[in-house]
Symmetry: C2
Subunit: 212 residues, 2 copies
Amino acid sequence: MIDDDPLARPHAGPGQREILEAAAIAFTRSGYAATTIDDIAREMGATKGRVYHYYRAKADVFLDVVISGMDEMIAGIQPIAADESLPVETRLWRMVHHHAGLMMTRNSFQRVAVQAVEMHRLREQPAQQKALDKVVAMRDQYEQLFADVIDEGRRGGVFREVDSRLATKPALGALNWISLWYDPQRGDYNTRQRVANEYADFIIGGLRRSPA
Amino acid sequence: MIDDDPLARPHAGPGQREILEAAAIAFTRSGYAATTIDDIAREMGATKGRVYHYYRAKADVFLDVVISGMDEMIAGIQPIAADESLPVETRLWRMVHHHAGLMMTRNSFQRVAVQAVEMHRLREQPAQQKALDKVVAMRDQYEQLFADVIDEGRRGGVFREVDSRLATKPALGALNWISLWYDPQRGDYNTRQRVANEYADFIIGGLRRSPA
DNA sequence: GTCTATATGTGGATAGAC
DNA sequence: GTCTATCCACATATAGAC
């Protein structure tokens, strides 16, 4: 959801939450297709029955993980994007920094969200297509948060003359890619800071108006 | 392969080539796990038998597609990276531009290669692990081509003081991401030029030494 | 070399005991 | 609400005809 409080999300019982955490880990480990419901159940020391009590199908579990991860991302970035008291450059820097941080600290959920984005172009089953369309819509809305800030910076002369919508692609691509190489087992707080800083500098630099 | 001529690759018969092209399309459409051998066969107007005559298992087909895509990438970038007659900044710009181009023109193969990179962290089956390790090794070697150029630019004062190895992550992440959103059906030559230029400017800008 | 069976294993989903 | 038992579809891989 985007327009209402994440905590008020219809499907958010306490039983679900445990399943979602387990599912995020399992999907991250093996990918959507290769993950079995048994894997998810085993991850939380239970059996299939428990999962199927809360969800009708594997795809539903998957989508709930994805929406959950995206909610978290949007909830974190939106306030920064909307903070008019900060200069655009600072605002974008912080958005990028925050996004990078979540890619590392909430690796499982974000990695699964990335999988979902991929799937939309490989249209898995027509059945799930409708639900995946929702995911794509959320992603588009998220991209727009970045595009708007980039546009503002461009108009203000801080950023280059770019097609803001196109410019979000390398920026968010670079960021989302983090979930593919970052190993949450190995990184500590300092490493994460270092990575997030480098990404923020990199992306701001990529958009900033050339000196010459 | 990296150290020898791609054309001399052991498994490169004419029968194989047709299978690889079909497999690349099929894997791109549905992902590794969801693609069936029947899908691949149907893609080239044949049946399972033909595929299994050349390959012992689905994983082998997949890996051959991946290696093939990576070979193509390395073969294109290496000469640019080695051309000492060009200033570092130009060299890197062209490497990025070329990489971006292949992501679009050879979308299927590159998209499959991206899938493989993902899989290494999600260690599918221990059986395939050994082969995937090779893929990871090739990717590391490829990253090093970029890291070396970045280091050279850093020492020369053109680029910022970055950890070159870390700096390849946002750069190649942004680039590889192209295969996930670019739709080869819709883009024409001009679009591809525009995208590749924007990516090259973006990445060079992200590494260039700040004006102030 | 390419095809049509077919053996075999696995995993999503359901039924029903507790 | 959580479990075990089971049905059933489907996909890998093989055997063997042509």
